[in-house]
């Protein structure tokens, strides 16, 4: 299961990157699973994702809750609540 991951605002700064492509094992099926998997890889992910209620998600550029199933080749955006306008 491969995902293109995009990070914005303080999430991007905390992770030190704006974008990456990663493969996940077959047990990773939802956005919440992705956060857990990433948090196990690296302390910076663990720190940035420690309070998931402060995060919002978009799957293929559409807002999605943490229990939304991911798809192979999909694009997952992870970011704080938006503050435009």
């Amino acid at each position: 299961m491969q995902l293109r991951l995009l990070y914005f605002a303080w999430v991007r700064e905390a992770l030190g990157r704006g974008e990456e492509v990663r493969d996940f094992p077959s047990g990773v099926t939802t956005i919440a699973d992705v956060l857990s998997a990433l948090s196990q890889y690296d302390e910076r992910y663990a720190g940035a994702f420690a309070a998931p209620e402060r995060l919002r998600f978009a799957l293929d550029q559409v807002y999605a809750g943490p229990e939304t199933p991911i798809r192979d080749g999909g694009e997952l955006g992870i970011f704080p609540p938006v503050t435009g306008g």
Partner: protein, 145 residues
């Protein structure tokens, strides 16, 4: 986007709100143009940095614009949202809506900015601080459901 009632643009460049509004008036059917511009607040010398999610931004703004065109009787409109570094006082966003009767333009303009605030994927950084989202914005958007 040429066949959309409300055109949308995401850009770093400034915009000419007066010229954009004037361009919405044509054919003798437009009785009202309502515009909203949002500006950078702060102290002289402050700079706001606006980051966005390219692709998703355009999609979200277009969806909001289409929803406004469905809900009200509009003859045209335009949404411009800027990104990048912006000094205090600079215009960030333009919402301009034209209609036969003024009620439609007022309703649609406020709907557009209320929804842009909570749906368009932009993030503001003031100095080294990322701006926190405001509950008042969620409440304003929820009022249109």
């Amino acid at each position: 986007m040429a066949d959309r009632v409300i055109e949308t643009r995401v850009q770093t460049a400034p915009f000419d709100a007066g010229a954009e509004c004037a361009a919405l008036v044509r054919d003798g059917i437009v009785g009202a143009v309502v515009s909203f511009t949002g500006h950078v607040r702060g102290s002289a010398g402050d700079v706001l940095e606006l980051q966005h999610y390219p692709g998703m931004t355009e999609g979200q703004i277009a969806a909001i614009a289409d929803e406004a065109a469905r809900r009200w009787d509009l003859t045209g409109g335009l949404v411009i949202h800027r990104h990048g570094p912006l000094p205090v006082g600079a215009p960030i966003v333009l919402v301009a809506v034209a209609s036969r009767h003024r009620g439609d333009a007022f309703r649609a303009a406020e709907f557009l900015i209320d929804w842009l605030k909570v749906k368009a994927p932009f993030w503001k950084k003031e100095g080294d601080r990322w701006v926190e989202a405001q509950a008042a914005d969620d409440a304003a958007a929820a009022g249109w459901q």
